[in-house]
């Protein structure tokens, strides 16, 4: 009888030991970090890192507004961050604990300040654009060599979409990304908060709805890389990851990303600390670790997103820093637009419109 208690006692001591070790819980986007960085953080600081992922801002926001999420670091996109700051979901950063903040890039800090004035609550992790990913070979086969792969006409002109539907087209399941894009296509202000202007996006999206295989915000990475679909309207780095995976698999699929010439949405994913974070000092350690120039460069080199860290640029691979799809040139930068958060009333109009487009009711 006595021996049977031994494993139990050992298990209890171990869990008790684990409970005493310092722990940091990070909630970040899926496919968004070089996982070697996670083990490196644990090795350097001795802190246990719990790393969970999500694939939509809405899921994160619900956790933040419910309170008591138990996370120490979360990564909302700028517009969502602004609203969550207003709701009192985050605590101000203590920059004295963040010596690596000197590495941050002024150009990006200026832009993120429109969501988080003075960058008091957040630091930029990555930023990018929302645009069009194509399987170049298949699209050229279907629409010819001069297919408009860098124009919104590729995905919003029903004539093109009807042909492309044969090889598969996916859109992001994110109304706050897709509706501004549809508005940009018809020459309206993509950041309009006027329900009458927003309503104009409906016929544009409804016209191509029959040709869209799926609305999803993460599946297209694999689908594009495997050649299951030939066009995806998605986030820059995700499409570039698909390009990389296809090249690795050597399956004859060649993926290209373009920010639409009519204008593309520029977004910023910001790291912030929830107001009720169990371990704020550990959270600061994590932020400081991420802002280290080499660590940040490793993350960007891995996920193909630009970052807001100037010092990291010297460590970036040439296919990251030199790629205008990731670090846009001055010409493209001018055409990028940003959006601001909708209030509850307009948000309801937007969500309802999105449901209508997706389900046809």
């Amino acid at each position: 009888m006595r021996q049977t208690w031994l494993p139990l006692a050992v298990a209890l001591t171990m869990t008790a030991g684990a409970a005493f070790a310092e722990e940091v819980r990070v909630y970040n986007w899926s496919d968004y970090i070089d996982e070697e960085l996670l083990t490196k953080f644990e090795a350097e600081t001795g802190i246990n890192l719990v790393y969970d992922v999500f694939d939509s801002n809405e899921v994160l926001e619900t956790k933040m507004l419910a309170g008591g999420s138990g996370y120490d670091v979360v990564v909302p996109t700028g517009v969502f961050l602004q609203r969550q700051i207003a709701a009192g979901a985050f605590q101000k950063l203590d920059y004295s604990q963040l010596p690596n903040a000197v590495n941050l890039w002024d150009v990006i800090k200026e832009r993120t300040a429109q969501y988080d004035p003075g960058n008091e609550y957040s630091i930029n992790y990555m930023w990018g654009t929302t645009g069009i990913g194509v399987n170049t070979g298949r699209v050229a086969e279907i629409l010819g060599e001069d297919a408009p792969i860098s124009s919104l006409a590729l995905v919003f002109d029903p004539a093109n979409m009807e042909k492309l539907s044969k090889c598969g087209v996916q859109f992001l399941d994110a109304p706050t990304e897709m509706i501004p894009a549809a508005l940009a296509y018809i020459g309206e202000d993509p950041n309009s908060h006027d329900p009458d202007v927003i309503a104009k996006a409906e016929p544009v999206l409804a016209a191509v709805r029959p040709y869209i295989q799926k609305f999803h915000s993460s599946e297209y990475i694999n689908a594009l890389a495997n050649g299951d679909i030939c066009v995806a309207f998605g986030w820059s780095g995700d499409i570039l990851q698909a390009r990389d995976r296809a090249a690795e698999a050597d399956n004859g699929v060649e993926v290209a990303y373009n920010a639409p010439v009519e204008g593309a949405l520029m977004w910023f994913d910001q790291m912030a600390i929830p107001v009720d974070a169990p371990n704020p000092s550990g959270a600061h350690k994590f932020l400081n670790f991420i802002m280290d120039a080499q660590n940040m460069a490793a993350a960007s080199n891995y996920v193909y997103y630009a970052n807001g860290n100037l010092a990291s640029q010297q460590y970036l691979n040439e296919d990251v820093i030199g790629d205008p799809a990731i670090y846009p040139d001055a010409e493209t930068l001018k055409k990028l637009y940003t959006t601001s958060p909708y209030d509850a009333r307009v948000q309801r109009v937007v969500t309802r419109l999105w449901t209508k487009i997706k389900s046809g009711t």
């Binding site: 939509s56 619900t62 419910a66 207003a86 107001v275 509850a344 969500t351 309802r352 389900s359 009711t361």
Partner: protein, 298 residues
């Protein structure tokens, strides 16, 4: 003696209070509130420190605005209706598949039966989510089912099953089958075999004895199984979101959207309360009917 009696009655009522009435009260309270940009994202919240004034202010802030709102947009009743249709069709399909299984189990030799029950329960050992996910691999265009059908020459082009309502029906029938089989099996297994013999002695053929004796006597099992399938199927979210397409309209998905995309907890709670009413009304009607029948029998 009285104390013991009170205690016995108290236990189920406390259970009901803690696990049904209290959560229901919280949801109802949120349904009567208004959306707000705060943690938690609705107003008013009860401020007990302000004493009687706080309580008065709290009740003054509640209203039925959200219930009115639901009647103004046809999305909601369409979603309720479509959920009821999907749940009803799936329940009937589960019954059609499940009854023969339960019947076969009850007819099997006694010493096999524990193992057969075990086999029915066995799928629960794997996570529900993984089992639903694996159906994507079976039903997708390059999936096993399409490959099999193509190979057998029954079809020339892969069928589009995944992302349609068909996939949702398959998913629900598969997932909830044990809930149908087990209660039916439980009633069939207790069935007195001599009744069937009597029916045959009185000139019944085997098939009419089945319809006239076995089926009516297994009615409690059929009803219990149907409720166990219908109720969770009505509010199902995981199966339609994984297997269904964006055209599949179910109240579970609408609820998700209200909660996550609109951050509108009050409207989401209102949707949930109406869903509960839809479920409770048939259950009450059914129980009344049973009660009457029992009285009539006496």
């Amino acid at each position: 003696m009285n104390l013991r009696r009170i205690f016995l009655i108290l236990v189920p009522y406390l259970w009901l209070l803690a696990l049904f009435l209290v959560p229901f009260g919280i949801v109802l309270k949120i349904a009567l509130s208004d959306i707000a940009l705060a943690i938690p994202p609705y107003a008013p919240t009860l401020d007990i420190t302000a004493g009687w004034e706080g309580i008065k202010r709290f009740f003054a802030g509640l209203d039925f605005e959200n219930f009115v709102f639901l009647t103004q947009d046809d999305l909601y009743w369409r979603a309720y209706l479509s959920s009821v249709v999907i749940a009803t069709v799936s329940t009937i399909a589960t019954l059609i598949v499940g009854y023969p299984i339960a019947y076969g189990m009850a007819c099997a030799p006694r010493h096999w039966q524990p193992m057969l029950v075990m086999l029915i329960i066995l799928p629960f050992w794997t996570s529900f989510l993984i089992r639903v996910y694996s159906w994507i691999g079976i039903l997708s265009q390059e999936g096993y089912l399409n490959q099999l059908l193509l190979w057998s020459g029954l079809i020339n082009e892969p069928l589009m099953i995944i992302n349609t309502n068909w996939a949702v029906y398959i998913g629900i029938v598969y997932t909830y089958l044990p809930f149908m089989v087990l209660p039916i099996y439980a009633t069939l297994e207790k069935l007195d075999g001599s009744l069937l013999e009597a029916a045959e002695d009185l000139g019944c053929s085997r098939s009419s004895a089945f319809w006239l004796v076995t089926v009516p006597l297994s009615r409690p099992g059929i009803i219990a199984g149907s409720f166990l399938v219908f109720i969770p199927a009505l509010g199902e979210f995981v199966i339609p979101s994984l297997l269904g397409g964006s055209k599949t309209l179910m109240i579970g998905k609408v609820l998700w959207e209200e909660f996550f995309s609109n951050r509108d907890w009050p409207v989401a709670s209102t949707v949930a309360i109406i869903l509960l009413l839809i479920l409770i009304i048939p259950i009450i009607l059914f129980q009344r009917n049973e009660q009457k029948q029992r009285e009539a029998d006496q």
